[in-house]
Symmetry: C2
Subunit: 325 residues, 2 copies
């Protein structure tokens, strides 16, 4: 393998919980260079049997919901309860909105300098599948380094929530009071994925509105079909700036953890996720390889134009294309 | 091509709206024999430019919600409004529950003998992708035969709702009053896909409960993020046996049609569906071909066992597998 990287050194560094090596390993995971990827895979293979022993929390919410301030408050609570915390981000669109990441980190003033916290900005580019894989491997690295509470955050406007849902044990949706314009950003389908919801900014003149929203959402969730985990999703309110309700959010998630540990859903879901991960990787790679062939994309563009202008059978067109390549 | 089938004759028969040929063509579409598939593709290619001119309505609901009686009542209303109606079904699981199909047809007493209606039992076996394709091609055949209102029904318990959603213009969810045990069957995520909801069996002692459920669901839907179509999903009640509220359901769907025609979402969605269909077909075929290779499934089972018993990296395992084949 590469001489530029001492895999043993990095691996030992991760297992010794040395943040420099954790960062280095994640940088390799995120790199697009084949050489770095090879090293990253060696590292993952060396540490994977030390991973898995954490609680993985997915957090989503539109910009403006107060995600960073929530994670700052909630993260400190997590540490107070005796955990070591890692915060990762999935944001496949972030190549379009560079800069928000550093902003996020500076908004987590206390957490970002806390010795028991590790905050990693989101990888700045790549396809959703690629970003999800990188996040998955970053989770493994953090777990091997002893971080036993992992937060994976995403913006609730795209496809990445499904990926986060697929990577985590609990899916928390942050919402603003008032179901009007502020909701425009949230993608349909996300509400039904949530294991819990928190109405943020429940303070000052906003408190009553937030309490009302809580009741309404709780009533709505009650109408949803039951979850596979047999857990009934809860709705809470909180104020990150006033430190109100943050402990309750921690307790709710902890209650979920106990509930799903007792009924074995926790391990069942993890196993399902691992299998899904295997199949997803195979399928993605097959599709990626096909589309990477010379001329395939040009041919598909041609077919798409034909589909627009005349009635051709997409099934037949697809089959002809596959025969051709 | 095959001598056993006169493609010109079948094609002419479909275009002349001859039910015998419509049925024959769908049987070919549903056949697993390669020879039949080849003939079916010839037919589809010959008629596809006559298709597309219909409204496609997806209907879902758990067993017991009264789907057949609803379709009987609603279908007669559709015909009264001047349409020719075709009813198709997606039910990939029906190989497990054979018989329910004939039962369905006999429960649609008037519709099943109406000259302006065509009811087709669901194909009895196959993968979801396969069944979806067959249904898509059956829609094309029915449209070419002059059926301008197509209902695709499915049971709201599996994966097939996403397929129906993908094949239709409007997604209608039938629900029972009382969000308790009766809801057990509905899959999470389906509610947020609905363009409209109908509480069935709103009659007799059930009427008040149904009206209350309507208010509750309407309130819940109001909390959902807005739809891409900018249509606000509505909730109605109806009694199929008392013929109450059926006209309102028709009017609601008609209103949706006008709304999405004016804002061009109707054609945008159809175009999206066609493109998605193309890519889905390519991706499914690539994956299917890989898994069909000798030993691939055995290898995957081996890997899955390893994943269960020890910590191996699923990504690495997938890549190794792909290298092997």
């Amino acid at each position: 393998m590469s001489k530029a990287f001492n895999i043993q050194e990095i691996t030992d560094g991760i297992l010794a919980s040395n943040i420099t090596y954790v960062s280095k390993a994640i940088t390799l995971v995120e790199s697009t260079k084949q050489e770095h990827q090879d090293v990253a895979q060696e590292i993952i293979n060396a540490i994977i049997n030390k991973s898995g022993h954490s609680f993985r929390l997915g957090i989503t919410g539109v910009p403006g919901v107060g995600k960073s301030t929530f994670i700052e408050s909630f993260g400190l609570e997590v540490i107070n309860r005796g955990h070591k915390l890692a915060v990762l981000a999935i944001d496949p669109s972030s190549q379009l909105s560079k800069g928000s990441i550093l902003g996020d980190k500076t908004r987590m003033e206390q957490l970002s300098v806390h010795p028991k916290a590790f905050i990693r900005p989101s990888p700045s580019s790549g396809s959703l599948g690629g970003v999800a894989r990188k996040t998955k491997e970053s989770i493994i690295i953090c777990e091997a380094a002893g971080y036993d509470y992992i937060i994976v955050e995403t913006v609730g406007v795209g496809q990445s929530e499904t990926a986060v849902h697929q990577l985590t044990d609990f899916f928390l949706l942050l919402m603003l009071a008032g179901a009007g314009d502020e909701l425009q950003g949230i993608k349909r389908g996300i509400m039904e994925m949530a294991d819990g919801m928190v109405i943020t900014k429940a303070d000052g003149s906003n408190l009553d509105k937030a309490k009302m929203a809580r009741v309404e959402y709780a009533r709505a969730l009650h109408l949803f079909p039951p979850t596979e985990s047999e857990w009934i999703p809860k709705v809470l309110t909180c104020s990150s700036t006033q430190q109100m309700g943050i402990k309750d959010v921690y307790d709710m998630i902890d209650q979920y953890k106990r509930h799903t540990t007792i009924n074995h859903f926790f391990e069942t879901k993890r196993m399902q996720q691992t299998k899904q991960w295997l199949h997803q990787t195979i399928n993605d790679a097959l599709i990626e390889r096909f589309y990477a062939k010379a001329n395939v994309n040009d041919e598909i563009k041609k077919i798409e134009k034909q589909l627009q202008h005349e009635n051709i059978n997409p099934y037949r067109a697809a089959m002809d294309l596959l025969k051709k390549f």
